[in-house]
């Protein structure tokens, strides 16, 4: 049943939709062309500036590009989630705001900007205002070590993986702050649950990352990607296909465990009890409205993308893709894992908090140790 629209409104909407879609396509093209563009920029900078200034300038450009990507990406991911949810649920999703709803996220962001900023009576004002920022920082600062291509990493530090895990733990502090500072029993429950959940699931994450580190021999994410290069079409050497200990595909198991822990770290269904809509109204962000709530949302989608990107780097070859290498390859692999996360959200029910804890401590951690021992033995036998 199509609604008849006034002509001017239709024209504006169509124009904006076209602009958004063109912008998205342009962004994809840009990502694909980043290696060549980066090479050109490096030459230019190396020619005109001193080496230190050149590296600072290139880092700055890298930071700018990454910040641009990770702030624009949640807009796209929110639209994608709504469309995926809708089609899984046998309906269409946003169709009205722009062509197939592409302007929906912009409209929602604009609406949230205009909402009244309510700070609850009795809330701890400083923590209440600080919590969204801490969560956003925990989600976004970790992108500094993500390698997008050969030499395309903002900060190529030797302890990249350690830094990544450490920064993602900041998210837990942010949620706890939000739950406590809201002066609301439901939010407190949400905050407590999220703290327990994220802290518990750090352990299997760290152990699985350790298995990869053992196979690579370094914590540097760029080295992890380089160790997976080669092989037919640059993909048979991926870690996920390697290391079959007897009949156990150890790395495959490790990938699945990593993915589950990633879901738990980002509070996604089936581990979304901190924001369990049907039990705790909205959990830790019950009292947040307007732009503060939007920041929690942003942080969630940013963390989702980061966890998927990390999984792609550790197991699916990072930027050295099947036949095509470069940022576009990492981008699409992360998007694939994000799609799987969204798919799981709309399919599975939610685990109860004690079942979640017992899953972590009684099942995942022993499996992690088995994988770790298997990798260690295989390493010793191999060498």
């Amino acid at each position: 049943m199509a609604l008849k629209r006034p002509a001017l409104e239709a024209q504006i909407t169509n124009a904006l939709s076209a602009a958004v879609i063109a912008g998205a396509a342009g962004a994809l093209v840009l990502i694909a062309m980043i290696p060549t563009v980066a090479g050109l920029i490096r030459e230019q900078l190396g020619a005109s500036l001193s080496p230190t200034m050149a590296s600072v300038a290139s880092a700055a450009i890298g930071v700018g590009a990454t910040v641009f990507l990770i702030t624009q990406l949640p807009i796209f991911l929110i639209w994608l989630e709504r469309k995926i949810a809708a089609h899984i649920q046998d309906r269409l999703g946003p169709m009205r705001v722009g062509w197939h709803g592409v302007l929906q996220s912009f409209a929602d962001g604009l609406k949230l900007l205009f909402k009244e900023d309510i700070i609850v009576d009795g809330a701890d004002r400083f923590l209440f205002k600080l919590a969204p920022f801490v969560t956003v920082m925990g989600a976004f600062a970790a992108f500094a070590v993500l390698p997008w291509g050969d030499g395309l990493v903002i900060s190529n530090i030797n302890i990249g993986l350690l830094y990544a895990i450490a920064i993602t733990s900041f998210g837990a502090i942010g949620l706890l702050m939000a739950g406590w500072a809201s002066n609301n029993k439901y939010a407190l429950y949400g905050g407590m649950r999220s703290a327990a959940q994220m802290v518990s699931y750090e352990i299997p994450t760290a152990i699985i990352i350790l298995t990869i580190v053992m196979q690579v021999g370094s914590l540097n994410l760029q080295d992890v990607v380089v160790a997976q290069q080669g092989g037919f079409g640059n993909f048979t050497n991926w870690f996920i296909f390697r290391l079959h200990f007897g009949f156990l595909p150890l790395n495959m198991i490790g990938f699945i465990v990593f993915f589950i822990c990633g879901l738990a770290e980002t509070n996604r269904n089936p581990f979304d009890i901190p924001e369990a809509e049907s039990e705790l109204v909205a959990g830790f962000h019950t009292e947040y409205s307007g732009m503060r709530f939007a920041m929690f949302f942003l942080a969630e989608y940013g963390a989702m993308f980061f966890v998927s990107a990390l999984g792609a780097v550790l197991y699916l070859g990072g930027w050295s893709g099947p036949f095509v290498s470069g940022p576009i390859s990492l981008f699409f692999k992360s998007l694939l894992l994000v799609f799987v996360q969204m798919w799981l959200r709309w399919t599975l029910p939610r685990l109860r908090v004690d079942q979640l804890m017992s899953l972590c401590w009684k099942y995942l951690i022993p499996i992690c140790f088995v994988v770790l021992i298997g990798v260690a033995i295989a390493g010793v036998i191999g060498s």
């Binding site: 649920q89 269904n269 089936p270 939610r350 685990l351 004690d354």
Partner: protein, 392 residues
């Protein structure tokens, strides 16, 4: 004589049954307040929790109390039917059917075959629609959002059939004393058959997606166990009682509207994933009941006589002799009964609605002890309450 108006503004603490001074260390009083996404209506449950574990609970009802029984004493018998619709607004064909059965029992009215078959058709379609809502919202409460929408897609088809039949989607005023308000339109039976053919695979899909999902059974099959003696002591009926293993269905025990002619099974909880009487058993009884309803519907469509006036036995003025009667039917939520006392005039003297959700809510505090907060939602959803019926 009514007491003189003496009222005072209640202090906030007075609305709570648990007092803060009685709390032990680490305990907290939490309100699952009247506004909550999962309490299926305006229900307030006060919980005394120790961390995540609920030590005690106290439901407060009455937010939707409209006292239709008082209204019924001022309107004639036919005029009470819209009020009964609004009791259980999710399955309102069953409410008016129960009231009509009670008044017909009081007056001794016999119905012709066509009216009886139509009533069975409509009643079973309403049962399917009501169970779809119960199952869909239960899945959503547990966290699975998708079955809710699939169930509602099917429910829309049933509501379209009802709209075609009598003009209303939710509150029908369809079952009258002595008959029904509208006859079946042409091709309504064909469309119903088409719906049944489309619907049978959807139940299988729902089973695959939700019923046997490991997370769902882990959430529901060990929670909210109602032992059979407790269920009978609290006068539970319908799927709540059958989930505890007791085979008691008014359609078989006290048949009305010709139900004795139809062949169907009465599904009973069997404790497949946990102890008998768990939330999962009650939920699965509803899924199985939908399958049996499809069976009854196909039989009723075959048996429906082509001839018959639906207004044949509707009396011009409903004026029963002085007396009383209790009429009951198997509504989707249990045994819905109406106890009607007549003093020989056009207006009933007393209409008491015996609501199945009322007794289901009264058992809540017994089975919620020792469970976690997340289980409160699972238990409420499995009892399938509608606040309009609890509060009347």
């Amino acid at each position: 004589m009514s007491t003189p108006t003496v009222y005072k503004d209640l202090e906030p603490d007075e609305t709570y049954a648990f007092k803060p001074e009685d709390l032990e260390e680490d305990e907290m009083i939490l309100n699952m307040g009247p506004q909550h996404p999962s309490t299926h209506g305006v229900l307030r449950i006060e919980l005394k929790t120790d961390g995540e574990v609920v030590k005690d609970s106290r439901p407060h009802i009455g937010y939707l109390h409209r006292n239709f029984e008082k209204h019924a004493e001022n309107i004639d018998y036919q005029g009470v039917i819209p009020f009964t619709d609004r009791m259980d607004y999710v399955g309102s064909m069953a409410n008016s059917l129960s009231y009509a059965v009670a008044v017909e029992k009081l007056m001794g009215i016999e119905l012709n075959e066509r009216v009886q078959s139509i009533r069975v058709l409509v009643s079973e379609l309403q049962r399917i629609a009501s169970h779809l809502l119960a199952i869909g919202t239960y899945g959503m409460d547990i966290g699975a959002f998708t079955p809710f929408l699939h169930a509602f897609r099917e429910r829309e088809k049933i509501l379209d059939l009802f709209e075609w039949l009598c003009g209303a989607r939710l509150l029908y005023n369809y079952n009258w004393v002595g008959g029904v308000s509208h006859d079946l339109p042409e091709q309504w039976t064909d469309r119903t058959r088409v719906f049944l053919d489309e619907f049978a695979p959807v139940i299988e899909e729902l089973d695959q997606l939700l019923s046997h999902n490991k997370i769902f059974t882990a959430r529901t099959a060990t929670v909210g166990i109602i032992p059979p003696e407790l269920a009978v002591g609290y006068a539970l009926t319908g799927p709540n009682l059958r989930g505890s293993g007791i085979k008691w269905d008014i359609r078989k025990e006290d048949p009305y509207c010709g139900y004795e002619k139809y062949e169907f099974d009465v599904p009973v909880g069997q404790g497949r994933y946990g102890p008998i009487g768990s939330c999962w058993d009650r939920y699965y009884v509803r899924v199985e009941e939908m399958r049996q309803s499809v069976r009854i519907l196909r039989q009723a469509l075959d048996v429906l006589p082509a001839e018959g006036d639906v207004h044949e036995s509707v009396p011009k003025r409903v004026k029963p002799k002085a007396g009383e009667a209790y009429g009951r039917t198997e509504a989707p939520r249990g045994e819905l009964g109406f106890y009607i006392v007549s003093d020989g005039s056009l207006v009933p003297m007393r209409v008491k609605g015996r609501s199945p959700c009322f007794v289901a809510m009264s058992i809540f505090h017994e089975i919620a002890k020792g469970e976690m907060i997340a289980d409160m939602i699972a238990i409420i959803g499995s009892l399938d309450i509608v606040l309009g019926e609890i509060d009347r």
